[in-house]
């Protein structure tokens, strides 16, 4: 098992004929992800070659889902059209038994996301991951299911769930699990935007219920209070050990650190507050990301899992 995606998942690519869509679609297929087609309005009826695989292009998500039975969509469309793409995917999945939407796009206007998330909430069988995230990956025995832009080869199938707000820092966390000979069940990048879909708590809840996952690495960053809320929730609801890191201890207040959401405002959202919340909740804290592997191993041993 794994969470939300597995090797049988059928994936659509929104924006498949664009540079990003075609490039990452090819990388996904090379990782043996089951890409079944894509959508670009006005280009329906064409076929597109992704590595050795040829897949159909549709004009709309409804058409694409009806023809392929897809249950996952990944969005690579430009920021100005991305929220509309999310809403289209959500409505189409809701009418066809539900699905997962993964939005990679960075730089979507925040009010567009407020609107998109409100629309998603009306679709109980639809989940959104992102935007502004690397995506989600479930490594398999050979390749696996890669829905996003992460480098597939750094992963291996295993028992650690990873959830993170950051892109490359997630890869760092993956490398850390590998450094202590642990693989991953599923890695989820929830994204660094202030308004997004799936949050830490959704991921922790899913990992807790997933029999394959034995421990979780959670990577936060400054801004907002999602880490504090997740820590409080975890203290009450999680039996599996969690290792936590928060980026931005040295970030100055009032300055946006790359991600739209990474800002300490009014003295709130500091790394110190988040680390303190982690410690209070019994989360194993790594102050140095290069220590995540060792802290994880300690957590597994203390829970008699190794």
């Amino acid at each position: 098992m794994s969470i939300w995606i597995n090797e049988e998942s059928k994936i659509l690519i929104q924006g498949i004929t664009g540079n990003q869509g075609t490039f990452h679609g090819t990388m996904m297929v090379e990782y043996r992800t089951n890409v079944v087609g894509g959508v670009t309005p006005g280009k329906g009826g064409q076929k597109i070659k992704l590595s050795e695989k040829e897949v159909p292009v549709f004009n709309t998500m409804s058409e694409a889902i009806e023809n392929t039975n897809a249950d996952v969509s990944v969005i690579y469309v430009p920021a100005r059209f991305a929220a509309a793409a999310i809403i289209e995917a959500a409505n189409s999945f809701q009418q066809n038994g539900g699905g997962l939407i993964v939005c990679i796009t960075e730089g979507i206007p925040i009010l567009d996301m407020v609107n998109a998330v409100a629309n998603i909430e009306k679709c109980p069988d639809v989940r959104l991951i992102g935007p502004n995230c690397p995506g989600i990956i479930t490594p398999g025995d050979q390749g696996g299911c890669k829905v996003g832009i992460m480098p597939g080869f750094i992963h291996a199938k295993g028992k650690i769930g990873i959830v993170s707000k950051s892109g490359t820092l997630t890869y760092e966390a993956v490398a850390q699990t590998m450094s202590v000979d642990e693989g991953q069940s599923t890695c989820v990048g929830i994204g660094g935007d202030p308004v997004n879909g799936t949050g830490f708590i959704d991921c922790l809840d899913a990992f807790e219920k997933d029999p394959q996952t034995e421990a979780i690495v959670m990577i936060g960053e400054i801004g907002g209070s999602a880490e504090e809320e997740a820590a409080e929730w975890a203290a009450k609801n999680m039996s599996k050990p969690i290792v936590g890191f928060v980026a931005g201890s040295t970030a100055p207040p009032g300055k946006r650190m790359g991600h739209a959401g990474a800002i300490i405002s009014g003295g709130k959202g500091t790394a110190e507050e988040k680390f303190a919340a982690f410690e209070k909740a019994g989360i194993y804290v790594a102050r140095d990301p290069s220590e995540i592997g060792n802290v994880l191993l300690k957590a597994l041993k203390e829970h008699n899992l190794r």
């Binding site: 920021a79 206007p109 409100a118 490398a175 980026a247 100055p252």
Partner: protein, 402 residues
């Protein structure tokens, strides 16, 4: 992007929000003419900079550093006072709680008709990331710093949230007005003002609107006496009118240049420059430098679309900071390939010269090849496999230990 008060008020006016009459001025002469034109005995003479706390700030002579005047916002009762205050403001350095010690040179002035105030309130609209909707926040403690009110008197702050699909409900707006203790007529006025503000917020893709103080005049009118407006930069593409409101003198020149290359740069106070791919990893690199006893000189994310040109520009920007005594490059290759970065480092060194110690950590896509490229060059560079090793190395090199 932020704008000046006089610009915010012009948008308020266009959006149907009541403001008092005012005139934007660039010189003392402008200010004197504005006083005549407003035909008001009492006017406010207001420094225009993007930072808050202007009223309680101090003005200094930028050359001599001597104090010129206390307070960046003054009430003038005569033309002579307008002359005195505007002379003290224009061209001088205003230091407030929000500007930092260096302050900001005031180039713009706003002369505004006086207003008879019965009570001052605080009002703000912003996106609440936890509730994923627009939050309206109001307080009876007008003119106060809202963060202090939140700390000392949280029950004075009242909040309502807009429904993302249906906007603000009249019922919520009226209950907010009632919570502020407004009378019937003023309650209606505030509710209408909130409708106008919400429309402005959503139509113009604001990130924040703050009115502090919002005042009730003696005649019961609700007036925006101050205005601070920020826009969501991600929505620039649908608001070309913003270009005309932009005041580049208020932005860090180096951050603008970095942005043009797709780089995200924030200057810090330390001596170790950082060049990293990814915002989270860039923050983590700074944190680890600190853990090993060093101080980061900057945050710099080269982004997923980095090229040789943008990486050279990144080195240039880092080296402009004279405090920089060493640079840590930390790349976890995903889309970005480490060997491309390695060749870019060599090119940047050839073009601009890298006189300071350089430590490079590569991981991920093509990291072995990247390391080879650097090792085969005659560049004086230390390569490491982990972030911790890299941070430890650059800290010891900048200390002169090695």
């Amino acid at each position: 992007m932020n704008i000046h008060e006089y610009q915010a008020k012009s948008i308020f006016h266009d959006s149907g929000i009541i403001v008092v009459k005012g005139i934007h001025c660039l010189t003392v002469e402008d200010a004197l003419n504005a006083y005549e034109e407003l035909e008001s005995k009492v006017v406010a003479v207001k420094s225009q900079i993007h930072a808050g706390g202007r009223g309680k700030g101090n003005l200094y002579n930028p050359e001599s550093g001597e104090l010129v005047m206390e307070g960046g916002v003054k009430i003038a009762f005569s033309k002579e006072e307008v002359r005195e205050y505007s002379t003290a403001i224009i061209g001088n350095r205003l230091v407030t709680k929000q500007t930092g010690k260096e302050g900001k040179i005031v180039n713009n002035l706003y002369i505004e008709t006086g207003c008879k105030i019965e009570h001052e309130y605080y009002l703000a609209l912003l996106v609440d990331r936890e509730n994923k909707s627009v939050l309206v926040m109001a307080s009876t403690e007008g003119g106060m710093d809202i963060e202090e009110v939140a700390e000392n008197n949280p029950e004075a702050i009242h909040k309502i949230w807009a429904d993302p699909l249906n906007g603000l409900s009249r019922e919520d707006s009226m209950s907010l007005a009632a919570a502020l203790g407004l009378s019937d007529k003023s309650q209606e006025e505030l509710a209408s003002m909130l409708d106008s503000l919400y429309a402005m917020f959503t139509e113009r893709d604001c990130s924040m609107i703050e009115i502090n103080p919002l005042v009730k005049s003696e005649s019961g009118e609700m007036i925006a006496l101050d205005g601070k407006v920020g826009f969501d930069d991600s929505a620039d593409f649908r608001h070309p009118w913003r270009n005309e409101l932009r005041d580049f003198s208020e932005e860090e020149d180096v951050e603008i240049r970095a942005h043009e290359y797709g780089l995200s740069y924030v200057k810090l106070e330390g001596n170790i420059g950082c060049l990293v791919n990814g915002a989270g990893l860039a923050m983590a690199s700074m944190d680890v430098i600190k853990l090993y006893g060093g101080e980061p000189a900057n945050f710099l994310d080269i982004g997923g679309g980095a090229t040789r040109e943008s990486i050279t520009a990144a080195f240039e920007i880092i080296l402009e900071d004279k405090n920089v005594e060493g640079i840590l490059v930390n790349i976890f290759g995903g889309i970005i390939q480490c060997d491309m970065v390695a060749r870019s480092v060599i090119q940047a060194s050839a073009e601009i010269g890298l006189a300071v110690p350089l430590v490079v950590r590569f991981s991920g896509t093509n990291h072995v090849k990247g390391k080879e490229v650097l090792d085969q060059s005659n560049l004086n560079v230390h390569t490491t496999n982990t972030l911790a090793e890299g941070a430890e190395k650059i800290v010891s090199l900048t200390r002169g230990d090695a």
